[in-house]
């Protein structure tokens, strides 16, 4: 109930996710965090024993002791929203890439930066060098009361205020002093409040990350299970100098490093399965097929068998977003919202048609970690083949690839048919701002968004089919729920589309099979014929 209600509200309120998830949490049982006994009680620090009116005031207080913390954060993707892929020579990061959900950041910063670890990134003129603009609390809050208000560019409400100005709506402040005095390690809640709600709502974007991971059962995630191992995000994404490992821009597709040993594994990604489980993870004492399964682990990512489906926690993920149908109105000219039987929105005038799904079997592809994005300036063609917002690389023979599970989000999105580029539309904000979600005017939304991106716009908007690949790595199931042999060792199994390897049960040389069966049949007929003649002949005698 709670989840459905909040999910609906999330869609309706675009990026209200953070607010609601916190409400959610306040009501849900909160799992005990990993045992840690800090040597400092922050409530005893006089720097924190005062009333804070704004976020940056708190940060200043933090930095008076943690002098290097902001500098560290400034170097991370969480701050810059930028990532340079040196191998592909592409400038990526949230700031630069597009997706096929809410599409892009430019001209929507006010709302999107609700999930930025900073204060005040409201437009492209944000100063990334100011230390007190780093938001310490969004990751280090332990009270679950820290809320970043949508539309305020990442700022929090420290004093009672009217927002939006002139609306008459009064926002109650959060107790920054109490929050600051209770800081601690990051948690599933602090990470999840943004990462579980990517794409504008619960579970929308990733499929393997949603609010069910706040307190999952072992069936949903064997590592994070509250009655089991009870991992935090940081248990795997072991962070050093504020830089959280586990990149989606340059994922580790095949970890040959084995178990990570202190002092020996510098610079290796600690968030892989292999980092703990090694490259031969199946042990003879636990599995009668250990050797055989370890052979499988040479070509299959662990995730391929151990995550049988994503969106398993009862939260649906968005599989398809068709922007081309946005803008339809009802008879009275009012925007429409259509829901399915489960209360999931399947059409919204602001956004178009959606397909959502739970318990989704992934698609499988060879993957060597190489990903190329279609960026804003890149030329695209509208034809039968969807445009890859990102394109994954890999094959059976490069020695670097494994078979990986993916969520592939598909849909249509605006593009400029004359310049042959994708479009970064302005969607969010009040009606006066010209965003699509209040004006339903593609021309204006595209013009403003493209201007903000500094990209040319011909004045024409068309829609192009796109697809985007999301490697699946969370929601690892208990071992008895992993994918069974016959699901791939079959003619139309999960790996039906995987080329370059011979899979017993799937593959056969059709010529040999046909010829041999024919020969067997002829032999059988031959002996039967021989027998018939014998019987016939013996009767004549």
């Amino acid at each position: 109930m709670l989840r459905t209600r909040s999910a609906v509200a999330l869609f309706a309120g675009a990026l209200l996710g953070v607010v609601l998830s916190v409400t959610n949490l306040a009501q849900a049982t909160v799992a005990p965090q990993t045992k840690s006994s800090p040597t400092a009680d922050h409530s005893k620090f006089k720097e924190l024993q005062k009333q804070f009116k704004t976020g940056p005031e708190v940060t200043k207080a933090c930095l008076s002791c943690h002098t290097e913390a902001a500098k560290q954060v400034h170097r991370t993707k969480h701050w810059t929203w930028e990532f340079i892929n040196t191998e592909k020579n592409q400038k990526l990061g949230k700031k630069n890439v597009l997706n096929n959900f809410c599409i892009s950041i430019p001209n929507n910063q006010q709302y999107c930066t609700n999930c930025h670890v900073g204060y005040g990134w409201k437009d492209k003129n944000f100063d990334f060098t100011v230390e007190e603009n780093v938001d310490c609390l969004v990751c280090h809050d332990t009270t679950l009361t820290y809320v970043k208000q949508p539309g305020m560019a990442g700022h929090v409400v420290g004093e009672e205020m009217e927002f939006p100005k002139g609306s008459g709506k009064i926002l109650k402040p959060i107790n920054l002093s109490k929050i600051a005095q209770a800081v601690g390690k990051s948690s599933r809640e602090t990470c999840g409040n943004c990462h579980f709600f990517g794409g504008g709502g619960d579970g929308v974007k990733h499929g393997d990350l949603d609010s069910s991971l706040f307190a999952p059962e072992a069936d949903v995630d064997v590592h994070m299970a509250v009655d089991g191992l009870n991992f935090n995000c940081g248990t795997c994404h072991q962070t050093s100098s504020h830089d959280v490992p586990g990149s989606r821009y340059t994922p580790t597709a095949k970890d040959k490093g084995g178990v990570q040993i202190r002092g020996k594994s510098e610079g290796e990604n600690p968030a892989t399965c292999v980092a703990c489980h090694d490259t031969k993870p199946h042990k003879a004492e636990k599995s009668k097929h250990a050797a055989r399964l370890n052979n499988h682990a040479e070509k299959l990512a662990c995730q391929t068998c151990h995550i049988p489906a994503f969106a398993r926690g009862g939260v649906a993920t968005k599989m398809r977003w068709d922007w081309s149908t946005a803008g339809k109105m009802d008879a009275e000219g009012k925007p429409i919202v259509k829901k399915d039987d489960h209360g999931h929105i399947i059409y919204e005038s602001r956004k178009g048609d959606f397909v959502v799904a739970e318990n989704v079997k992934p698609e499988y592809y060879w993957f060597n970690g190489g990903i190329t994005y279609t960026l804003l300036g890149d030329k695209i063609e509208k034809n039968d083949k969807p445009v890859g917002i990102n394109k994954i690389e890999g094959n059976a023979t490069d020695g670097k690839s494994m078979i990986w599970p993916f969520k592939v989000s598909r849909g249509t999105q605006p593009y400029d048919p004359e310049n042959k580029t994708l479009i970064t539309p302005h969607t969010t904000g009040p009606k006066s701002g010209g965003g699509y979600w209040t004006n339903y005017d593609w021309d204006r939304a595209a013009r403003q968004g493209m201007a903000d991106s500094g990209a040319p716009f011909s004045g024409k908007v068309d829609f192009v089919s796109t697809e985007m690949y999301w490697p699946i790595a969370h929601m690892v199931a208990p071992k008895d729920k992993s994918v069974g042999c016959a699901e791939c060792h079959a003619k139309d199994g999960r790996l039906a589309g995987i080329k370059g390897i011979y899979i017993p049960g799937r593959d056969a040389n059709p010529l040999i099979d046909k010829a041999a069966w024919l020969l067997a049949l002829l032999t059988l007929l031959g002996v039967l014929g021989h027998a018939a003649i014998r019987i016939f002949a013996s009767k004549k005698h």
């Binding site: 009668k288 050797a291 055989r292 370890n294 052979n295 069974g484 042999c485 016959a486 060792h489 079959a490 003619k491 390897i501 011979y502 017993p504 049960g505 799937r506 593959d507 056969a508 040389n509 040999i512 099979d513 041999a516 069966w517 020969l519 067997a520 032999t523 059988l524 002996v527 021989h530 027998a531 003649i533 014998r534 002949a537 013996s538 005698h541």
Partner: protein, 198 residues
């Protein structure tokens, strides 16, 4: 009273029938693994196929030992003598009610055609099925054995080819058991060890 001759010794008969059962079971599970049909389910089929294969390995170890210690291996020395007579018998004579041109004795159990067929089994079918099967059992060791680039498709196809040969052999072999002086005479001999003299 029909005169009888003791042809097949106790171990030999045990070996024959155990091997027959194992081979048929291996064909059954093997073709399921191959994706031809579905019965046990892939996982179970692989497990059973592996168990049956190892059992057959064990049985063969005994059989090889037995053949050498008893000198019975000589039964398989091929000969081309009277092969044409055998062929002529199966192609024509048998229909006319002629008697079998080969007389079984304890020292010579297999007719010349049989000897040639078993030579084929020993030189072609067995090496093919055993080598490919052994490689499939130890798929993870190929690199260590010095075959890092061996193709699974090649090995699996060879194994399937071997299986089809065995299937063809089985069909003909079973049929030819009915060509004794009565249809069940040979089978009876393989059960009791005694063949009627006629």
């Amino acid at each position: 009273m029909v005169e009888r001759v003791y042809i097949f010794k106790r171990f030999e008969r045990f070996w024959h029938w155990a091997q027959a059962a194992l081979i048929m079971f291996l064909l059954l599970t093997g073709f399921e693994i191959h994706g031809t049909y579905s019965n046990f389910g892939f996982e179970k089929a692989v497990e059973l196929h592996t168990i049956a294969a190892w059992t057959l390995v064990g049985l063969w170890t005994f059989a090889v030992f037995w053949h050498f210690t008893t000198g019975e291996w000589k039964q398989y020395i091929p000969t081309t003598k009277r092969v044409t007579e055998m062929v002529r018998f199966y192609a024509f004579g048998i229909f006319k009610g002629e008697s079998h041109p080969f007389k079984q004795t304890a020292l010579s159990k297999h007719n010349p055609l049989q000897r040639l067929a078993y030579l084929g089994v020993l030189l072609v079918m067995n090496p093919l099925i055993w080598t490919s099967g052994w490689f499939l059992l130890f798929y993870g060791n190929w690199a260590a054995w010095g075959f890092p680039n061996l193709s699974l498709e090649l090995v699996a196809t060879a194994h399937v080819l071997g299986a089809f040969m065995i299937l063809l052999f089985l069909i003909v072999h079973v049929y030819l058991t009915t060509t004794g002086h009565t249809p069940l005479a040979h089978i009876k001999a393989m059960i009791t060890g005694w063949e009627d003299k006629h």
